[in-house]
């Protein structure tokens, strides 16, 4: 059967060259689309290490009359009586929030909120190696609000601000600074030696990124100022209360949180924040572009196969008529046409897979400025099989749909008419 189809393909090589060329090209493009999506789906399905459902960030401003004072203070250390004006009032705000029945827990963080636009990276020395860690300055409630699991070391009291401690999280390889995370007892930061107060679960900055080495440091008291990059207040809402929460909160709060130098500006859900950050990091655009490219290709493949086979059944009317006359059933004729399309696809796919693997190996796609999965990831055969399967299944569906109408037209051919034309 296959041999027979191959013979037909050879006879029709003039128009087959075109459709094969198209299928090969399209297969390569789709391969790289799915290559990227494949990795992104893998990353997305890994737990990202925190949970932002039902969480909100609350923005505050500083009243004009306190602004000069604030800028005088910024960067100054503890125990400043002036700092107290800001910190005491800031704590009063969190107290008020905690009293609200809808709110589960409230936390502070300094330029460290999940899906933030800004991030701090610091290096920590582990033995002799440095780890560049995503560093988060947080109050101890941060772990509850964002549901980050920490294996606390019972010997140390994380909540004691006087002790020099750190909570760390591992990267993809379960390492921190190239050392297995469980074996680390202390890390050095500048002149300080920090003891490991606990190990947090792995954390990724964005859903589609890899896990990054993470360090959590207890936020110093004089930094508890919810303004600018200095401090952020976030909280978790009870799931039952989380319906139109932004509106409800804004309406009930009005000026009740205008305490001391602060005034309430607005409330943003972390879901929104995430959306904005995914756009700003280019992921949203990448997915959008890939979606449109796939859609475009799928339609074109359909049109190409449809047109080619339409011409073919027309020009081969007499042959099909003869087949009918010699006893081929309609099903067999349909099978012959579909078989031809699928066989072409398979041949094209083999060529395309080789091309894709070579392009991937030399990282040519990345060079072109297209988001691509770098070779560094080194995937197993499963990854490539998945790429191949998804691509060929999608194209086969298109081939089946594309040949359906031409095949049906061929089946309608009356042997007597077709033969008479001969």
């Amino acid at each position: 059967m296959i041999k027979h189809i191959l013979k037909i393909m050879k006879n029709e090589h003039k128009s087959n060259t075109w459709i094969m060329l198209e299928l090969t090209l399209v297969f390569v493009v789709l391969w790289f689309c799915f290559d990227y999506l494949n990795l992104m789906i893998q990353r997305k399905t890994e737990p990202k290490g925190f949970d932002i459902e039902h969480t909100y960030a609350i923005d505050f401003g500083i009243k004009d009359e306190y602004k000069e004072l604030y800028h005088l203070l910024s960067g100054k250390a503890d125990n400043d009586t002036l700092t107290d004006i800001f910190v005491e009032n800031s704590l009063r705000i969190t107290e008020k929030l905690k009293q609200m029945p809808e709110i589960e827990d409230v936390c502070y963080s300094g330029n460290s909120k999940p899906y933030g636009f800004g991030n701090s990276y610091y290096s920590f020395k582990v033995d002799t190696v440095y780890a560049m860690a995503l560093t988060k300055y947080v109050s101890s409630e941060y772990f509850n609000v964002f549901k980050i699991k920490v294996d606390k070391n019972p010997e140390y009291d994380w909540d004691n601000p006087a002790s020099k401690q750190i909570i760390i999280g591992a990267n993809d390889e379960n390492n921190f600074g190239n050392r297995p995370i469980d074996e680390i007892k202390v890390v050095a930061s500048g002149r300080d030696t920090l003891r490991i107060a606990g190990i947090a679960n792995k954390f990724k900055y964005l859903d589609y990124e890899r896990y990054s080495e993470t360090a959590y440091l207890l936020m110093k008291r004089h930094k508890l100022i919810p303004y600018s990059y200095e401090g952020e207040i976030s909280f978790r809402v009870k799931p039952s209360a989380d319906v139109d929460f932004v509106d409800k909160f804004t309406n009930t709060i009005q000026d009740k949180l205008d305490i001391g130098p602060f005034y309430f500006i607005n409330l943003t859900s972390y879901q929104k924040q995430k959306e904005a950050v995914l756009i700003s990091w280019g992921y949203a655009d990448n997915f959008k572009n890939i979606f449109f490219v796939i859609l475009f290709i799928v339609i074109n493949v359909f049109l190409g196969i449809f047109g080619t086979f339409w011409f073919r059944t027309q020009s081969r009317q007499s042959e099909i008529g003869l087949r009918c006359a010699t006893g081929s059933s309609k099903k067999q004729i349909h099978g012959l046409i579909i078989g031809e399309a699928l066989l072409m696809l398979v041949i094209a796919s083999i060529a395309a897979t080789i091309i894709s693997l070579i392009l991937g190996y030399y990282e040519i796609i990345g060079e072109l400025g297209v988001p691509s999965v770098s070779k560094a990831g080194h995937f197993g055969i499963v990854h490539y099989l998945a790429n191949y399967s998804v691509t060929i299944i999608l194209l086969s569906i298109m081939a089946l749909i594309g040949t359906y109408f031409p095949a049906r037209q061929a089946m309608k051919i009356q042997p007597s008419e077709a033969l008479r034309a001969e």
């Binding site: 003039k14 128009s15 075109w18 459709i19 060329l21 198209e22 090209l25 399209v26 493009v29 923005d59 401003g61 009243k63 004009d64 602004k67 000069e68 604030y70 800028h71 636009f117 009005q254 000026d255 005034y263 309430f264 500006i265 607005n266 943003t268 929104k272 924040q273 959306e275 904005a276 950050v277 756009i279 700003s280 990091w281 280019g282 949203a284 959008k288 572009n289 449109f292 490219v293 475009f296 290709i297 339609i299 074109n300 049109l303 190409g304 449809f306 047109g307 080619t308 339409w310 011409f311 020009s315 072109l368 400025g369 297209v370």
Partner: protein, 418 residues
């Protein structure tokens, strides 16, 4: 002659309606795809009210500081760097600085009802660089800016929501609890104008501690050719500034044009690479969008020409030369391309309008509420029509040149025999 070709082409289109439809749809899709890429860019970079000089504007809002101690920061543009290196620029026609868009609490004087709006703190030159459609009153002047008096220009949205349609000019509103006098009302600005959009505009000098704010700088060049000269002058100023204090090195690496600003450039080293990568990416999309349909169309044209062998043979026998045959095929094909192009233009227009949020939303529009209006002038510009036409020609040449060449080379005997 071409009239005959035209009639013939129409006749062929009618003959095999299905294949004609497929060819036209294929062309239309290719044009749609190219136009979407082009329009999404165009909406953000073409001159539209109030950003009427985007083609001559350069922006800067980030800076790199390297300390001798080894630290290195990429930060938002600070006032000091702005004042020392950018505000003294002489080459541009005009310059302006704006504080990063912030949320502000706004209420009518004496009223406790609070609202949050987008506040832009700017200077008097801002109103000269951008052209705002005022419905009432006027902008603040250099005197207002220099003296730092609390005056504000508001959008129609605020005028409607806070003043409930009464005359706003001359009244007072509280912005972050400080009373501001309303000087003018402007029409609502689309969020797609990311450098001018806001609900309220005030002089940044009216806010205490404005020297601690983070800025966005814009320079309006006298001419597009001045871009390099402006960069040069920034470098000169930067050098002077770095000479004063040698413990740190400021690197502004800019300013950038509007289309460069659309790329998210995270470090100055990135900038050149990112710009190149973006160009390559666009070329690749263009190639995919043209080649794949071109293969389809080539294949169809070839099949068609095979059917018309005898006609071509007759033409040849009567003395038609190679070029007139190539010309005929290209011309006939061009009719399909143009019909497809027109359809593609309409499709891309529908797509941009209906998928506006999906195609155009950026991190600003997700987080803020505001108008997301599209200026139709961006679509019906000469450059868009030219782009459609060029794409059609490119597609035509790609898809019809091989069939045309084949037709011209067909031996007469073979052609007539069939």
């Amino acid at each position: 002659m071409y009239k005959v070709y035209f009639k013939q082409a129409l006749h062929i289109l009618k003959q095999d309606r299905l294949i004609s439809a497929i060819s036209i749809i294929g062309t239309a899709l290719a044009i749609t795809m190219i136009m979407l890429v082009y329009m999404v860019q165009e909406v953000k970079t073409a001159n539209v009210l109030p950003e009427i000089h985007r083609d001559r504007s350069m922006y800067l809002n980030m800076m790199d500081i390297k300390y001798n101690t080894g630290g290195r920061w990429r930060a938002m543009l600070k006032y000091e760097a702005l004042k020392e290196c950018l505000l003294p620029l002489k080459t541009p026609e005009n310059i302006s600085a704006t504080v990063m868009l912030t949320d502000a609490v706004v209420n009518m004087e004496g009223s406790a009802e609070r609202n949050t709006y987008q506040l832009r703190q700017t200077d008097d030159n801002f109103w000269k660089i951008y052209s705002f459609p005022f419905t009432e009153g006027k902008a603040f002047t250099k005197e207002d800016f220099d003296s730092g008096i609390p005056v504000v220009v508001i959008s129609q949205k605020i005028a409607k929501e806070i003043f409930k349609g009464q005359q706003a000019v001359g009244k007072t509103i509280d912005i972050n609890f400080i009373p501001y006098k309303v000087l003018g009302v402007v029409k609502n600005i689309s969020m797609l104008c990311r450098y001018s959009f806001a609900d309220l505009w005030i002089p940044y000098t009216s806010v205490p501690s404005y020297t601690n704010s983070m800025y966005n700088f814009v320079a309006l060049a006298k001419h597009k050719n001045d871009f390099d000269a402006i960069k040069e002058e920034v470098l000169v100023n930067q050098k002077k500034y770095n000479a004063i204090d040698t413990t740190r090195v400021l690197d502004l690496n800019g300013p950038y044009t509007v289309s460069q600003m659309l790329l998210d450039i995270y470090s100055s080293e990135d900038a050149a690479n990112e710009i190149k990568a973006n160009t390559r990416r666009n070329i690749l999309i263009l190639v995919i969008a043209l080649i794949i349909p071109a293969i389809n169309l080539s294949s169809f044209s070839l099949s068609r020409i095979r059917k018309r062998m005898s006609e071509i043979g007759v033409r040849k026998a009567f003395g038609a030369n190679k070029f007139s045959l190539i010309g005929q095929v290209l011309y006939e094909n061009m009719i399909t391309s143009l019909i497809g192009g027109a359809l593609g233009f309409i499709l891309s227009f529908i797509a941009v309008v209906s998928l506006r949020d999906l195609l155009l939303s950026d991190s600003l529009s997700v987080l803020q509420s505001g108008e997301f209006g599209l200026s139709m002038s961006a679509f019906f510009s000469l450059s868009v029509f030219l782009a459609v036409f060029l794409a059609c020609i490119a597609l035509n040449v790609l898809s019809a040149s091989i069939p045309a060449f084949r037709a011209s080379r067909l031996p007469i005997v073979n052609a007539l025999k069939s």
